[in-house]
Amino acid sequence: MTAKKIKIKVYRDLMGANDLWASKTRALLKARGIAMLNLISSPGSGKTTLLEQTAALLATRLRFAVLEGDVATTHDAERLARLGVRVSQLLTSGACHLEAKLVHRALLDLPLDALDLVIVENVGNLVCPAEFDIGENAKVAVLSVTEGEDKPLKYPLLFREAKVVVLTKIDLLPHLPFSLPKCLEYIRKVNAALPVIQVSAITRNGMTPWVDWLAAQHRSRIG
């Protein structure tokens, strides 16, 4: 018996299967004029609170639904459902990010003909969700001022991929050592063109530019 060594050229992208589902989602949403946004942040950055306040302001402007990604529990989905938001919970059972196939299936359960916008709240994590295309129009990096201002330098992929940064909890700035100019400088160094919207979901400061940005995403989708 002889053994012959062979080199097999493969050149296969590891995201291939995921990207296929993402492109199916993109086609599905495009045909219906729906915009989809993918909110990515650390745990505790205030995504759900931001969405609670967003719901109140957006309700008169756009018909929207939230896909709530969590490792475990339905607490966040319940918070939004109490406000009358149409919300579906996606439990990843341990996985640290949402993948395109799961999102696609969840979308098919939504009344798509009655929607203008889908906001996906990804699992709280700055690394993995940035890797996975879920068929969104834009990734939104949510960063809170209670985190280190150098997060953009530590997690460059997210800040390269995102189309906007929402800087949350700015009402806390007077009480924190967080340097706003430094944070903005770090964001610029990673991605000079990235717009930053500063908000406080508690005082509602900055909520209007954020909601306007959301509405613009839908307009560019149907335009």
């Binding site: 018996m1 080199k7 097999i8 296969r12 640290c96 690394v127 890797e131 991605n191």
Partner: protein
Amino acid sequence: MHEVSICENLVTTVLKELAQGGKGAWRLKKTRLVVGLLHQIVPESLTFAYEVLTKDTPAKGSVLEIRLVPIVARCRVCGWKGEIHDSLFVCGACSGGDLETIAGKELFVESLEVEEHDG
């Protein structure tokens, strides 16, 4: 976590390729993977995940070789091209920030080294 999910896709891809050789005809010796530095993968974690996930498969005992690709960007304003360090996407010539990433996002299986048995 990150490395495990990536490795799951890797092992699925590798097993699919191996199956093309016919049942048990190819014995995998080495998998060559190319990873851009933007993915922030810890090679040791990926290697460990590979060992665990291939354990009860035809790819068992094979070695994972990871080639890391530096992040390279090009300035859309002045045409400068260079490596990016410490996440600073700033042009090395004109100090502008309008840079396009041209390398560093790779994540693919380049090749497999197999032994084919006959006779």
